[in-house]
Symmetry: C2
């Protein structure tokens, strides 16, 4: 029986949605031999505008390349949450940046509120690696991709000067995710 | 009247199809304010396997995010040409890597045979920037994106150590494309 995982990453331009998606896609494709289709959508005024990346990972050919309901949704801002939280599978997970997404959520889907930017600041000295904290969490709370494949793809895809900070953020996310599984 | 340009870049893993596509997508979106959707498909065994990137650029919202017939097809190897040359608009253009794509083409579509890798070696000291030679040609022979937006996106997206060689390759492609328009 073949499987298919659908991931949607959403936020605003500059939050690293596309870069994070690329690393996830290449981790699964190049380092774990999966079929992967990634689609990114750029709205005008990208800087500050909305950004979205969708990644489908499968061990079989991917017939339908669009994400309808996600297994994992990462919502980096309120708009992303409001727009996409209805399009998540019943046994799926929503990871939200707790600094930017507020309010109570009364649905049936599991929502993990994580201070991604704060963790990123703490371990990497910048909030800009919040996307990689999120990827670390994803690797632990789901079966989509392993942390070691993410590390390999990160090293291959990103320039040397930002590699270390993003690896630290990724590793912090892995620890966070591991703790979440236990609780 | 709104317009829509469809571009398909195809080759094998390691030829920079995804990186080239990203720079094209971000040039049009971030630096020219267009709506852009990019889809990349990774087949298993990416290194050596086939790689494809599709980019749609429009001044209106993009309803249908798949490329059926391309305005521009870049075929970096024979398999890419054989597979996709039938899916090009009648007034479209196919750019092929002349070192890897042989045979005569009897169709009605304009085919530009360019020694992309040879030009890349000559100006950048490596064949790895052939994808950026191709983007330079695209910027001149079509109205999809300007060379200056490509340069800006290249600087923003690529690590410093490969920026110069790819800029040289891009500029060489622009000159090539300009010559092709004249002949």
């Amino acid at each position: 029986m073949s499987y298919r995982h659908d991931v949607r990453l959403a936020g605003e331009g500059g939050q690293g949605v596309v870069t994070g998606g690329l690393v996830l896609a290449e981790a699964a494709a190049v380092y774990e031999g999966k079929n992967v289709v990634m689609t990114q959508t750029y709205a005008p005024q990208q800087r500050g505008g909305s950004a979205r990346a969708e990644i489908i990972v499968s061990d079989a050919e991917i017939d339908y390349p669009k994400v309808l309901e996600a297994d994992v949704l990462l919502a980096l801002n309120q708009e992303a949450f409001d727009r996409y939280h209805h399009q998540v599978k019943r046994n799926g997970v929503i990871i939200v940046e707790s600094a930017h997404v507020g309010g109570e959520y009364s649905g049936h889907i599991k929502v993990l509120k994580v201070p991604l930017e704060e963790v990123s600041c703490h371990v990497a000295g910048t909030s800009q690696s919040a996307n990689f904290v999120a990827l670390g969490v994803v690797s632990e709370i789901s079966d989509i991709v392993s942390a070691s494949a993410l590390r390999a793809a990160l090293r291959a895809r990103l320039p040397q000067q930002v590699r270390q900070m993003n690896l630290k953020a990724l590793n912090a996310g892995v620890l966070l995710g591991r703790n979440m599984k236990r609780t």
